[in-house]
């Protein structure tokens, strides 16, 4: 293998890893606050990709406006999902809300199939993202190049919100103890909505970058990335934002490196995430940066 190919794949791995990271943050934040695996998160991501397509292809919006519209629409969908599918079950046994999440996921993917058909559609070609640039000896699309930076900036932003702002302090308090948070005068619903706003916004940005990289979208496109990003969140230590990003990087990188060094196993690229999941669960169930599992009292 040439060092040039290696560098190329390294860049690809970092970039794919940062895409996973964007989605993994959403899983980890919702889990942190609701102890819920939001199975519909991958479908929110899928819907964002469709929103982008419609914004540009059908409504002919300029890309920079489309991005804003898509983020807003996706956020609205995420907040609605929480209100309708999760909020009414907040005091129900955790299994019920989990089942509701699985149901919501099926609902989204089937609704998308019904509305948009199962035939793959082309993702709009956003020139600023798909233009190829040469970095040293390798050539990358702008999307591949900027994804890691976008992820790091967004990670910084999320950490800033959770650690340095009043709403972030409330999020941490609510993640610990709903009832005592209420006694502080915290509006639990608003705090949970905020979590879904952040997670959905990141999923929307992830979907736009994803589409520029793999420009074919379909109703089930969220399933596999969703599972992988959930695994990334578990790997990093579910509930821990930085951990989710690290988990995403590791997963993206392992996947690309598998393809690079063992091309005959390319067909197994999706399996690697599950192997990692099994290993994590066996060796360190709390993940890389996870705290000891303390169930909410």
């Amino acid at each position: 293998m040439t060092s040039q190919l290696f560098m190329q794949q390294l860049a690809n791995g970092i970039s794919l890893g940062s895409l996973y990271a964007l989605l993994a943050i959403g899983y980890t934040m919702v889990y942190g606050i609701l102890r819920l695996i939001n199975f519909a998160h991958g479908d929110i991501f899928m819907m964002a990709a469709y929103f982008m397509t419609f914004s540009i292809v059908t409504f002919k919006l300029p890309w920079y406006i489309a991005i804003i519209v898509v983020i807003i629409a996706t956020v609205a969908l995420g907040v609605l999902l929480e209100k309708v599918a999760y909020r009414p079950l907040r005091d129900a046994p955790r299994m019920s809300i989990m089942i509701s999440a699985i149901g919501a996921s099926f609902l989204f993917s089937n609704l998308a199939t019904y509305l948009f058909t199962g035939v793959p559609r082309g993702f709009p070609d956003i020139k600023v993202l798909t233009t190829t640039v040469k970095v040293g000896s390798i050539s990358l699309s702008v999307a591949t190049l900027i994804t890691p930076f976008i992820t790091l900036v967004l990670l910084y932003l999320v950490l800033f919100i959770t650690n340095k702002t009043k709403i972030g302090m409330a999020m941490r308090a609510v993640s610990r103890d709903f009832e005592t948070a209420k006694l502080m005068g915290i509006n639990i619903n608003r705090v949970i909505s905020t979590t879904f706003i952040i997670g959905s916004a990141l999923a929307a940005i992830g979907a736009i970058l994803w589409g520029s990289r793999y420009p074919s979208i379909m109703p089930l496109m969220g399933v596999m990335p969703g599972l992988k990003c959930f695994i990334a969140a578990v790997l990093g230590g579910i509930g821990n934002t930085t951990g989710a990003v690290i988990g995403g990087f590791i997963l993206g990188m392992s996947e690309i490196m598998l393809i690079t060094f063992l091309p005959s196993l390319t067909g197994y690229r999706d399996a690697i995430a599950f192997i990692i999941l099994i290993v994590v669960l066996l060796v360190k169930p709390t993940g890389l940066l996870g705290e000891k599992v303390t169930d909410k009292v």
Binding site: R176, E179, L183
Partner: protein
């Protein structure tokens, strides 16, 4: 300041509080004592809006707050120091104090300093996570956190539970001090002796009913109360 009339609370089909009347005058310390399971916590939780009462009235400054959301009740000036302290272990000591003032929009630095004066230990540990504090320190933090809301009425659910005797004395001194500074207090205790000593008025709760009531000192000398509640908790 707080007047409870004929309060009933049920859990499912089981009634935990069966029509009690309690009056907490402004600037007083009123205590509610009784054995485990008598319904003390349930009463406080009903006042704070954490459980829904099935009947009765809870008048706070002549306004019925029964059925209000907890947030609104806190905003009106009632705070609860919950049973088992319930500090936010994943927040620092300082953040725990700040979050106590969540509904306030004015400057809180001065009040943080006041809490530090009351509990110098908390100042030393301001940057530690609350989960690393000792039980006594956590109780101090829970009280300090409640004070940060600048409440008119502060309710405390067994603040002395599980603490070393020296720390217990300290907590009771602080409760008196807070009261002297003008805050009305409704105190729940199993440590009946100590609670009645500092209280202006006391109620005894038994399986959801109030069986005795009177001035703190009177109850302390009441033979039946001594037999039932003071016999074992000496000192």
């Amino acid at each position: 300041m707080l007047k409870i009339n004929n309060l009933h609370v049920n859990y499912g089909g089981i009634s935990a509080v069966k029509g009690i009347d309690i009056h907490v005058p402004e600037k007083s310390i009123v205590t509610l004592i009784g054995a485990n399971g008598a319904g003390k916590s349930t009463t406080l939780r009903a006042i704070a809006g954490l459980v829904k009462a099935s009947a009765g009235e809870i008048l706070f400054q002549d306004e019925d707050i029964l059925g209000n959301d907890t947030i609104d009740i806190v905003a009106k000036g009632i705070t609860l120091v919950p049973e088992g302290r319930k500090v936010f272990a994943n927040l620092t000591v300082l953040e725990n104090l700040k979050i106590g003032a969540y509904l306030r929009n004015d400057r809180i630095e001065e009040d943080i300093n006041k809490v530090y004066e009351l509990f110098p230990r908390l100042k030393e540990r301001a940057w530690q996570f609350a989960g690393t504090l000792s039980g006594g320190e956590q109780q101090m933090l829970a009280v300090g956190r409640a004070l940060m809301a600048k409440p008119k009425l502060i309710m405390m659910d067994e603040p002395s539970l599980g603490l070393a005797p020296l720390v217990v004395n300290n907590i009771f001194e602080i409760i008196e001090e807070i009261n002297k500074q003008g805050t009305t207090i409704l105190l729940i205790e199993q440590n009946a002796n100590k609670a009645l000593k500092i209280a202006d008025y006391g109620y005894v709760l038994e399986t959801g009913n109030i069986t005795f009531q009177g001035k703190g000192m009177e109850l302390l000398q009441d033979k039946k109360i001594i037999d039932a509640y003071l016999g074992t908790s000496k000192r």
